[in-house]
Point group: C2
DNA sequence: ATTCCTCATCGTATATTTGCGATATAAGAT
DNA sequence: ATCTTATATCGCAAATATACGATGAGGAAT
């Protein structure tokens, strides 16, 4: 990957960026909402709810899974996704730490 | 834009996604950190600290500005950037709301 | 065994992002 | 007026992301 310089930054910066990237599409945020609203993660209704083709939704699910934000078990005909709360909270708190760290230093904007 | 369907989602989903997108690159997270560490927003040393060309940094700054996360005033030879705390906290709290909303419903993962 | 149903994956087209060098711009210094 | 310095913008190339239709794979139902 001679073109991308992401690996030149700290691991924390990369992790945070990867998390943000996973959430950087409205479809994926919508998917997370849907997953959270079902007590049982019987999925596939996602396709009916979203204005996207089945293959596209599948792709978004894959990305969320790769980012570690959701778990998924493929069981033959139907697969089951749900939120990985552990990772989610970890990232969520890391975000807060960043926010607070930023906030502590300088509260008044100068421009 | 016959190809992108982002506008088919709710405004909140789009806003959150746009915010996440602005933070979805380690360079931009690094820039936010740097901006926060200076009490006065004398900028431009950013280029020296980051492993990126000046034009690339300028581009990242522009994106952060477009997303509303930072303010910037161009004053001829040198320009001045700093964090837009208001927008930053607004988005930050919206993220937390989403996180908490998600968390309330279902605490135990089923897969 | 054949037909469905649900989902993943492949191939493809288009759009966007990332990065750099070169150039432009704008103010201060000489 | 010219030079310098700091930054933005342009133009380009490579890489990624987004989206879809078509196809594959794996069970369930008949």
């Amino acid at each position: 990957m001679a073109f991308h310089k992401k690996e030149e930054f700290t691991q924390k910066e990369q992790d945070l960026a990867a998390f943000a990237k996973a959430m950087s599409h409205p479809a994926r945020i919508a998917i997370l909402k849907i997953l959270a609203q079902r007590n049982e993660c019987i999925c596939g209704e996602i396709v009916d709810v979203l204005p996207l083709a089945q293959s596209t939704v599948s792709q978004h699910l894959k990305e969320l899974k790769n980012a570690g934000l959701i778990n998924g078990t493929v069981e033959g005909p139907r697969s089951c996704y749900c939120i990985n709360w552990k990772a989610f909270e970890k990232f969520s708190s890391e975000f807060n730490i960043l926010f607070n760290h930023l906030k502590v230093k300088n509260e008044k904007a100068c421009c």
